[in-house]
Symmetry: C2
Subunit: 228 residues, 2 copies
DNA sequence: ATTAATTTGCGGAAAATTCACGCAAATTAT
DNA sequence: ATAATTTGCGTGAATTTTCCGCAAATTAAT
């Protein structure tokens, strides 16, 4: 049995945002201290002595990126000796989802320190952070096949095609529009409004939809079976 | 940012065993130190400074229960302040699967310290260990619906009904024998041998099966879609 | 002002899968 | 012998998935 344990506990967060223009993106910060100074990395840091893990994530996100988040889920704990060149650090990682308004705000602030990166254009990262992002993306992919997803990533009202594009962006493959609509509609967590989409290009304007949150969260608990 | 972090890092393991007689069981130890002295608890303990998390689990299992394990998967990290009355301890939990021979051996040893408990007859446990067991059971249930399971829990050769009983024990519900066999067979990770089951009671003796490990592990990677 | 291109809304039929059973064969129990 | 138990194999109905067509409403192009 080991005595005098000397291990630090950190949290790191993979925050996903989505817009139909930019696709699925991840929030990164540029480190200004060694090691990996000037490398891009996930927001995160050490956990306070009397702070829950979730609180630590929220605090670090606030401090380092200015955002706060309403969907946060634990991903995995990485603890191999040597993953931080200084000390033994085990990192408990989370992934989060944020709506486009947060996305927009961030794009305005100083981009030298905090920035969104499309999931397919992630730069070289510090530590084992690329592995963590890949794990988070895999988790999000599989999550959306057994739970409704979208409320945390889309505007309050959106054309149906927006949800479809979100699925295609996350899963990184094509989906048949008509089958997708039939399947999603069947679950009943979407409500059609009477409003029409304001067009940006050509095409027939579609009706706007919104999530029925009661059914949405109910299905999130029960689980759905969704083959896309 | 917190300085002088003082948090201990532990691992705990939910080890599942299965026999058709006893059903799905969990390995527990009886604590001989405070707090929760004389309570049943999950095997586990503090992580060594230069030890990986998996190594720590294996070491603690060896020390406390005498077994070693070949299937081990990270479950979740529990870190709420106050879950251990002494210090701040975050516990990275794992779940493992073991074959019946390990099961039998343990049943022979001194049962005052280490014992198997059927999943439906878990006693009052120390700390938040009941929550951890429930989480592990839920995980195993959902795992068996998207990956082949059984190799790590059954004998090398087994009648088909054994796999069926395993599924019923873990999922805690009835399964139609004939549809189950058709579904499982379709995946091709089982091989029928020419040997016949040695009967214990009445009934037609069935053929023995074994896992085709190549296909088994391939499907474990790819994922299966299995509705039972 | 037509015509083309784009996107939405609705649908339908074939193919595949799931579901709910039936029944004979091989063995032990009575 | 006869009953009870368990395996092996199957079949048809119901449901779901998959693949694709086409009209309507709008913008873009000529």
């Amino acid at each position: 049995m080991p005595t005098n344990q000397d291990i630090k506990v950190a949290v790191d967060a993979v925050v996903f945002g989505y817009t139909s223009k930019e696709g699925l993106s991840v929030l990164l910060i540029k480190r200004n201290i060694q090691p990996f100074k000037d490398s891009w990395a996930l927001p995160g840091g050490l956990v306070g002595n009397d702070e829950s893990l979730e609180d630590a994530v929220q605090r670090e996100l606030k401090e380092e990126t200015g955002i706060s988040i309403n969907y946060l889920e634990q991903l995995y704990s990485f603890g191999k000796p040597g993953r931080d060149p200084r000390n033994r650090v085990i990192s408990i990682t989370y992934y989060g989802l944020v709506k486009p308004d947060v996305f927009e705000i961030k794009a305005d602030t100083d981009a030298a320190e905090v920035s969104w990166f499309n999931i397919k254009k992630i730069p070289q990262l510090a530590f084992d952070h690329q592995i963590i992002i890949t794990a988070a993306h895999d988790r999000l992919k599989s999550k959306m096949l057994y739970q409704p997803v979208g409320f945390e990533l889309l505007e309050e009202r959106f054309p149906f095609s927006e949800l479809e594009k979100l699925y295609m962006a996350v899963l990184d493959r094509d989906i048949d529009r008509r089958n997708f609509k039939k399947k999603i509609s069947k679950f009943g967590f979407l409500e059609e409004t009477t409003e029409k989409q304001v067009l940006e290009g050509a095409g027939r304007p579609g009706n706007l939809f919104r999530f029925n949150l009661q059914k949405y969260f109910q299905l999130q608990k029960e689980g759905i079976n969704f083959e896309v």
